[in-house]
Amino acid sequence: MTESRSQQVDLAGLAAAIERAAADLALAEEPSRFIAALEEAAEEERR
């Protein structure tokens, strides 16, 4: 598996974007809060 120049660019771009966006993530933030966000918003809609 050799890494092409365009793959290096893609990877670097994605990694930089994630690093920027994640810079101020709260310690408590975790993946499962995604499902919780959907369920909570649906509950609000019902109320």
Binding site: M1, E3, S4, S6, Q7, D10, L11, L14, A15, A17, I18, E19, A21, A22, L25, A26, E29, E30, P31, S32, R33, F34, I35, A36, A37, L38, E39, A41, A42, E45
Partner: protein
Amino acid sequence: MGWTIEELAGAIRQGKISPVEAAEACLARVQRLDGRLRAFITPDPEGALRAAKELEAEATAGRWRGPLHGVPLAFKDLCHVRGLPTSCGTGTKEYFVAAHDCTAVSRLVAAGALTLGKLNMTELAMGPFGDNAHHGHVQNPWRAGHVSGGSSSGSGAAVGAGLALGALGSDTGGSIRLPAACCGIVGLKPTYGRVSRAGVMPLSWSNDHIGPMTRTVRDTALLLRVVAGRDPHDATSSPRAVPDYLAGIDGGVAGLRAAVPENFFFQGLDPEMASGVREALRILEGLGARIEEIRIPDPQTMNDVCNIISRCESAAVHARLYRERPEEIQPVVRARLELGFRIPAHDYLQALRLRARLTRAFLGDVFAEADVLVAPVIPEAAPPLSHATEGPVEELALRQGRFARLTRPFNGLGLPALSVPCGFSRVGLPLAFQIVGRPFAEATVLRVGHAYEQAAGWHRRRPPLD
């Protein structure tokens, strides 16, 4: 076959047409047209007729399985269907052989649907155009030589061309909505967790959604009610009750608050597409909706997050195929898979954490003051097939990313998104827009889509195939 699912199911109940006649009509159309459309990978005429005869005997005896009794459907070739091979669009036709139907198919069959066969798709569901070097490039039913959209390409073309009355597709970055938009039909990516993925070949567990593709919004509502709901075989499926999506679908849009993004979605959009979507908004406004332009959180961040998650998870899913038979995978698909092997676990996990925060922010910013968000679904009408197949791998991958940039954010957000046709380009290719709702608000999204569809009437047009 020009019927909608609702019309055909009603006609079968009234004895105006039998399940065998319905199946034969579809199979004859497949026989006549699919040599050039390439919508099917595995048609199953024997199985379809066998099922149709059983359904006919049951109907004669007054036994009705459900709302789809005798309705011919077809399924993307990553849905496991008992007795049929599953290629997932690869060159290995029997990449999977399943002993059971996937949950969504089993629910449709329990409701009376019969299976016409398995539908063509982009290899491994990785690509938005519908090209497939192994099984043939799916042709757009409205204009030969143009893409059908992907990755549920066969689903779009089969329903658009009237080979099947409805289909299932999967949507990881737009793969239901893109072919629906390109082929002039309706396609729904439901809320994450609304429809079970059990028995469907995954691409990215975090972003995969299963949903219906049909000619009308009402038919999509009908199929969604059948396939939605908790499934013990899919831990991500929601236990939330499934409403009757047809019950309030005629409620109209008077007073509905529809937000239109002023950033991102209309930038670089083809003028014909922009004009079609703006005209759709005018129609909705004329029906009583309140249209308001708003600035939304930058969707490109969510696109990056989705890309990282999808690349990593798809590399994990297909690691064995990649390591053992890489030469079987088309170069552009292989290149996208390779990327996933090189992303650090740290970035993947940060992307999953970011997704949670971005979703809460989006819901708060957009849906505090709006009931739906209305946006374009494809940046331009279906491009020529050469756009998907000709050029260096790097350029092909860039074109793929650009074509799916308007759909992918809603996979990351997990929100219901309905693609609805909104006219035609000068050369006769479909235009489309998407209606995005709050989590589990499929009923609202379908109500808006139905109101527009009835007012605009585009669903009555048929592609020039006969």
